[in-house]
Symmetry: C2
Subunit: 334 residues, 2 copies
């Protein structure tokens, strides 16, 4: 499928007006080359039909110049922006992004980790929960890894996350500050990242405010709109019912709004609701959703920067856990 | 970064209870192996720490077993589902998906095509508009290509798309059937795919219904919510203003709703609005959006199937242009 004949590196260097060494560096990526020079050389290569043998390069360098992105659910709008941030961060350094979606099922994640390692990716951004089996494989492989979210079982790897306990406490604080005492939560799966931490932030905020432990009301969803709707229905069956709900992500909060509306309850008068993420839909629903904004583009970019740093400095670099700043976006649902 | 020692193929075959040939076929992908057997062999390999040298395999086969997905804008919810459909279709055959986002800028698309070819991907799914330069490079490379949308300049390649003229005519027909005569359109860029075809469908539907040519009102957006808002503002400046608007995608339709609301006009009483895609947000906005549903998961899956077929049968296979069925989803905005 690649039938053309390729000109020499010498010819490319002459045409681009750079040294042969610079062309080699663009190809090997072993030395930094400015983005402008790099683009110029690549453009000349394309015009001349130059075709380096990528596989031979990769074999000799034992590097694929590929980063695997493993995400829980690409249709959750949080992840496309994360992917964009990652791609922008690593593309400049000559890396491509391999996409593994649908890691909501444990089996799919295990297979994604396996395939990524088999393809000898140079790094993995893991934005999904992994099993012990996968965690062990990742450790054994010694691959560069950036974990999105704070995952205690992978604490020896670089990570980037929102401050999940703190953001949950801030959201609950907003509800408590408005006078609510019967504040429930729709949590993500507690064994999964970041469900556990946001749940802990919720509990801690109630405790710190002196709210009686009997008023702690927890329902669990699966991060989807449908899951939030079901969880909200179960909360509304309680008597007395909550007057405010902190939902661990926006999709579940939107499902919660659906469930409330189905019982004739309106936000914010009958029920105040807060989500997390600030996906586009949060501003589109009526009432629009008060939420905690997490800048997913920046999280993706930071994950890329962590990997590039790790790849440049090897296993010796100190492990970094980066926390990304969140903010409260006040809309109509509170 | 890959320090472990690998067991032999013989040892893997014994442990998996299959022949050495089967293990080779799983690795080379040159012969089909059932999904169950394949997963079993891969699991055993992972457990034993077997590490085939992927680069050496790729070099000898001159195949990367990677498909590039080049998309216009991954944050448009149409594309994540398309990506999911593609990944599911090709993963079973042992291919990974390389993601290139942000091809809304012509320069980014050219670079994506270039990098994908340089990486010697086996196939490309092109869900973005490409320049003549990129089109020429794709032709010269002889790479397997599946075009999403109907692109006349790439008509010699396989494609999958909605029937864009027909769906536009159906949407406009809905508005005409409700008695509207002043039906405007917010089109996508006319030189870009599928903007031109949907615009033609709009014009054709008005002509067929005997609507006077002076009542053809076209504003152009850039597929984004902001672009739709600006286009709608320009339409509402006309006198007399349109009573109905066909928007070439949902994001622009949602922007159009914003612009109408900003002038105190409410859908559907003051203005009827129809979009295209049926993204999640179409059901979330108030009034909820009547739209043409395009099953993007199926489009992605079909693109993958076209590539697999092309890779199996080579350049000799007949070129296929697959049309995917659309449907009208009637909600509150009409």
């Amino acid at each position: 499928m690649h039938p053309r004949q390729s000109p020499t590196i010498d010819a490319v260097a002459r045409a681009a007006g750079v040294s042969k060494t610079t062309v080699s560096h663009v190809l090997s990526r072993k030395r930094p080359v400015s983005q402008t020079t790099r683009n110029n050389v690549l453009t000349v290569m394309a015009e001349m039909g130059f075709e380096p043998n990528y596989f031979a390069q990769a074999l000799s360098a034992d590097r694929s110049f590929a980063i695997a992105l493993i995400v829980q659910d690409l249709t959750n709008p949080y992840y496309p922006l994360l992917g964009r941030g990652l791609e922008r961060a690593v593309a400049e350094a000559g890396y491509v992004v391999m996409l593994f979606d649908g890691a909501a099922q444990a089996e799919a994640t295990e297979m994604a980790v396996r395939v990524a390692l088999q393809r000898r990716v140079d790094g993995i951004v893991l934005a999904a929960t992994v099993s012990e089996v996968s965690a062990a494989e990742l450790r054994r492989a010694g691959v560069a890894l950036a974990v999105v979210g704070s995952n205690p079982t992978l604490a020896e790897f670089d990570s980037v996350s929102a401050d999940d306990e703190r953001l949950a406490a801030d959201a609950v604080g907003l509800l408590l500050g408005a006078g609510h005492r019967r504040v429930a939560t729709i949590a993500g799966p507690a064994n999964a990242n970041p469900g556990g931490r946001r749940l802990r932030g919720y509990r801690e905020a109630l405790r710190a405010a002196g709210v009686s432990p009997e008023l702690v009301m927890v329902a669990t969803g699966d991060w989807t709109r449908e899951g939030g709707e079901a969880a909200m229905a179960s909360l509304l069956d309680r008597s007395p019912r909550p007057t405010a709900v902190f939902c661990a992500n926006d999709l579940m909060a939107i499902g919660a709004l659906d469930a409330a509306l189905a019982r004739g309850l309106r936000a914010p008068d009958d029920l105040a609701i807060v989500g997390v993420d600030d996906i586009d839909a949060a501003g589109l629903v009526r009432p629009s959703l008060t939420t905690v904004r997490i800048p997913s583009l920046e999280i993706g970019r930071t994950a890329g920067a962590l990997l590039l740093n790790r790849l440049a400095h090897g296993g010796g670099a100190a492990v970094r856990h980066v926390l990304i700043q969140h903010s409260l976006v006040i809309r109509q649902s509170t």
